[in-house]
Amino acid sequence: MLFWILAATMPIYAGALYMSYQATAQRLEDEAQRDADDLAARLAAGMDAVIRPIEGGIRTVASQLEEIDPPREQYPARIRGILAAWPDVYGSTIAVEATRDDAATGQPFAPYLFRHAGDIAYSDLASASYAYRELPWYRLAADSQRPVWSAPYFDAGGGEAWMVTYSVPFFRRYSAARRDVAGVVTADLDLDWVRKAAANVRLGSGGMGWLISPPAPRVFLTPIGATARHLETFDASLDAHAIREVGERMLTRGVTFRLLPQSVSTQPAYLAARTLETLDWRVMLVFPESDLLSAARELLRRQLWLGAIGFVILIGAISLVAAAISRPVRALATAVGTASENHLTFALPDLPRRDEVGVLTSALRRMRDSLREHIELRAASLAAQARLDHELQIATSIQQSMLPKAGSRALPMGVRVAAALLPAKQVGGDLYDYFAVDEQSLLFAIADVSDKGIPAALFMARLGGLLRVLATAGKSPDRILHELNAHLVKDNDACMFVTIGCGLLDVETGHIRYASAGHEPPALRTAEGIVSSLPVENGAAIGIDAAAEYTSTDTVIAPGDTLLLFTDGVTEAAANDGSQFGAERLAAVLRDALDGSPEALVRSVVDTIAAEAQVLDDLTVLALSVSPPAVTLHRNELAMHWLIEPEISAAGVAQAQRWLRSILASRAVAPSRIGDAELIAEELLTNIVRSFEAHGGSARMSLECELTAAQIVITVRDNGLPFDPLSLPAPNLEGNIDERAIGGLGVVIVRQLADSCHYSHVHGRNVMEVRLHRSPG
């Protein structure tokens, strides 16, 4: 948390610091520049302040000379007065104009008093060959008739020093409009004094400067303050003349402060320039930029330090605040972390706080308590649920135990049954059952109670029990349904009903008697793979109508045919494409099955639905077929063959006849033709049996039945002595009864009924092939 708070605040803090620095630095820089500029101005003004009184004094003397016009003898006294009044004046003279033809005034006269060796010395400038009236200090003032300052000059005639001279003309007035120059009063200023004054000025740590005279005739410049020293540290090559030129250009444009061009100074520096108001001199100051900005830099340093200190304080403050929040929150987290489903008694810190942490703590406490309560409730309901689940499991196993398991029922010989029941819930309302009612009859039933779940299961249990009690030997399925209905209609307060299909299979003939109470008709798959619906006369579902009537229908199945009963959980299973699984899809599954046995068909239906559809209801499939051990099936491209291998006896013959009958009956052969075929089979097989009885020995016989589109082909084989019955002479059928033979009639019957008979002896076996058309006539 601390990290994120800092991450968020630091940029803001740094930004504020930076902006504050920027503003301050700019202001300081401006101030430094203004200060530099001001310094130049003050310096100029300081000079002016010294010089201006001297100017005033000299002008006063000049005007006194004009008004009073004292005699020349008094001039030295007045000059002496000037020197006494202004110690900075080195020397002074009152030089008269001596052009008029006047004895008193026409003579050149220029008494000059100057300081010399601590005293005032006197010299008359007119006495020497010093033609003062031609000299610039006199000429300029006299000609311009106004006070002027001379350019600096070296005074070789007395001062032996650099001087400037202030010259003020005085006039002799004739009228208000007319006047002549009467003379010039001067004051010499020793530039050595200027030099000393300039050297005493303080320019700050790195400042440099010069006091500079006008360039003509010779420029005079004197460094200000510690310029020489600063020059050495800053830039020794800095040229005061070049600076002067820059300054002059600035001043003509009215600019007093600017950055020095790089051509003048390689290091960045500012130049401040001023013109003296008295002398036509310049003050030019150069400040290195680093120097000027050192104050700003110092400020930045200070601000950075302050910022760093502030930052540390900020971190500390934030840490304290964050810790004040996070410590209790962490304590809460630790307390909550110890919680688990079985341990919800974790202690929460008792924080009487009014802040968010306090609110969170009490919210957690409420949550813990209600969670504990909820978990206790849930545990209780889970226990109840578990109890219920356990009971349901028991119910499931009880219900499953009501259903016959594969191999658990003693079935008559030669019948195969397979079944599957998948309840949609743990217990279901579907039922199937099958059991032998006598040695050759198998009762089978499938039922679907109107609901699902426990009510349906209870109703189903009642139904299953009743079925076992009511289905007794010799009772036809319609009768059984009728009785079931009579029992279940009574006291059916729950208004439940059940659809049921019930059949009785004669395992020795393949004959099925079937009745249905509102149940879907079973599917019949022949050994050839043809699928059809069993013709059924449906009655009302059981449990609704006491007066419901049921009718049985008869069917015959051949060995290899399979009858498949199912509940609507099969046909109404939701196929994955959203449609119903449907009777047609079921028919297709049965048709496409490679193996037509009940076990294979049940598995393939269940597997297909599991793969392609979602079971919404209880799903039950029951399949059965007859497969007598003496009968095997073969198939070639043209037709189906049934091979019957009976024992060699009259009973064996009868058995073979029964299977032949069931085969033909199941394949819609006309009853009269079935009788013919049966008769042929009996006659041929009986002859073989007789022959064996007469001759003995181990023997085998078989009857093969092949059904083509038009013909029934019956082939009888035996491994007895080679004998062609067709070779016997036809018996006398016309004569007197005394003369008639009792035997030999069978062959007559066979010949008469068959379309063709053919005998051969192949691989040591007698083979008699008889063909007859499927339809009589």
């Binding site: 009868a654 009269s672 008769l679 009986t686 016309e734 009792i742 069978g746 019957i749």
Partner: protein
Amino acid sequence: MLLKIVAESSNPSSIALAGRLDSSTAPELEAVLDRVLKNARLPRLVFDLSKLEYLSSAGIRCFIRARKAIEPGGGKVAIVNPQPAVRKVLDIVKAIPAGGIFKDVAELDAYLDEMQRQVRERD
């Protein structure tokens, strides 16, 4: 019960057969015939086949045996009401002469009355 045999020794003696008369059931009829044919002077033996569904040569042998036992003594074997499938077999082997097969009991009675009348007239 594949074959049901009801034998009546009234006049005329009759045996009603129901079900199947084939090689496996013929011995039962043989046993009945053994008993019935002990009466050597039996004038008439009527087989009521209205409920016989199936007949094979083994059954026909019984009829022929009966004929052989009775007809030499002037007796007669009659068949009443054979079903088409049975009739067909009877016809194929000509087990019973055409005059010995009757549509029903009434036709047989009429025939017998006629025979009796002829006998009386002769007498």
